[in-house]
Symmetry: C2
Subunit: 200 residues, 2 copies
DNA sequence: GTCTATAAGTGGATAGAC
DNA sequence: GTCTATCCACTTATAGAC
């Protein structure tokens, strides 16, 4: 194959994007480096060469996704500050931001996949640490407190689960699926539907 | 190897138990039929022979776990009826029952793993259907309504996520991890700790 | 009912050319 | 910076003996 020759740093980003989609979709063990390569439009050995190993690649995807999530939450918080939102409405504001994150790319799913890898020494530790950072951010920086942060995370995990399960595929066919997805996503259901449909 | 010769039906159950543990721990793609075989104390080909394929085995594990979950919820509901518990306390009662389920075996984790397989045509459809059955059960039979059922599921997904992530491994080391696990599990934290420690 | 042996396929990683 | 060729380990599944 004849691929365009582009700077390593840029290619790196392309591969990370592709990997986030593939890993987010099929999980770590369920993905192959060849699937990532194809999604990025390059050869399989190049993927491995660029990152050293599949595991290192996954960890980079994970770190990047966690970073993007934290950045978005901080930006959202700053915006909430400007608008002088308090307690409850601040939480809601963050919730909307989270749904935007679901939309804007492949950040949420690789994170969720990482949460299922607690048994893996390296990835598991990384995932726990990232989860706790988000918890602290919600509890302290966002001022949601222990209860608010926990509730927020619970809602987030439900959204994540519905996403990985592709519950939105039943949105038109099953009224209960529709009701559940509607309830979990509030006014931003469309995002969920798009995210599910895009994945195929 | 010299394995005791026991009736097929009984062996089947042993394999299903072992498979629930292994799949629950490492996911579908991350598990091998040999790991299941070793956990069950038999040879790898025998596992495959008994169930036809790895995928069929996983689906049986999934169906069984979903059935056990529903059964437990129905029993719990009957008990709540006897005690004449209403709305909020009924929900709490079900929550405690769910934590018991986490304890009593390997039911919750394989279910959670299945929820991450939305992309798989067969398993994904099975997982969505099972999830919806539980939703209906909570909403209608338990009388939690749309909001109550959704909240319940959200809390459940948080517990599941903390479990697969093995957050309880940090229980003693990190006060935030402890706080989060405590909050998610209420009075039944011990169960979570045991479940996490057993898995290693 | 259960095993050993093994075929057939897949996937991560390395070597080396261009 | 990127590819082709290829090795080797692992995994599912089958065949057939006991």
């Amino acid at each position: 194959m004849k691929t365009e020759r582009i700077p390593a740093a840029e290619r790196r980003e392309q591969i990370l994007d592709a990997a986030a989609r593939v890993f987010g979709e099929r999980g770590y063990a369920g993905s192959t480096t060849d699937q990532v390569a194809q999604a990025a439009g390059i050869s399989q050995p190049y993927v491995v060469r660029m990152f050293g190993s599949k595991e290192k690649l996954f960890n980079e995807v994970l770190d990047r996704a966690a970073g993007q999530l934290e950045t978005l939450f901080r930006e959202t918080l700053a915006e909430a500050e400007r608008r002088k939102l308090s307690g409850a409405s601040r939480k809601e504001f963050l919730g909307l931001a989270y749904l935007d994150l679901v939309e804007q790319g492949h950040i949420v799913l690789p994170l969720m996949q990482a949460f299922l890898l607690g048994h893996d020494p390296a990835i598991g530790a990384n995932a726990r640490e990232g989860f706790l950072r988000v918890y602290r951010l919600l509890r302290d920086e966002a001022g949601l407190g222990v209860d608010g942060a926990t509730e927020f995370l619970a809602g987030g995990m439900l959204i994540n689960t519905l996403l990985t399960m592709r519950m939105a595929e039943l949105y038109d066919a099953d009224p209960d699926a529709r009701e559940l997805v509607d309830r979990a996503c509030g006014s931003k259901v469309e995002i969920m539907l798009d995210a599910t449909r895009a994945g195929r």
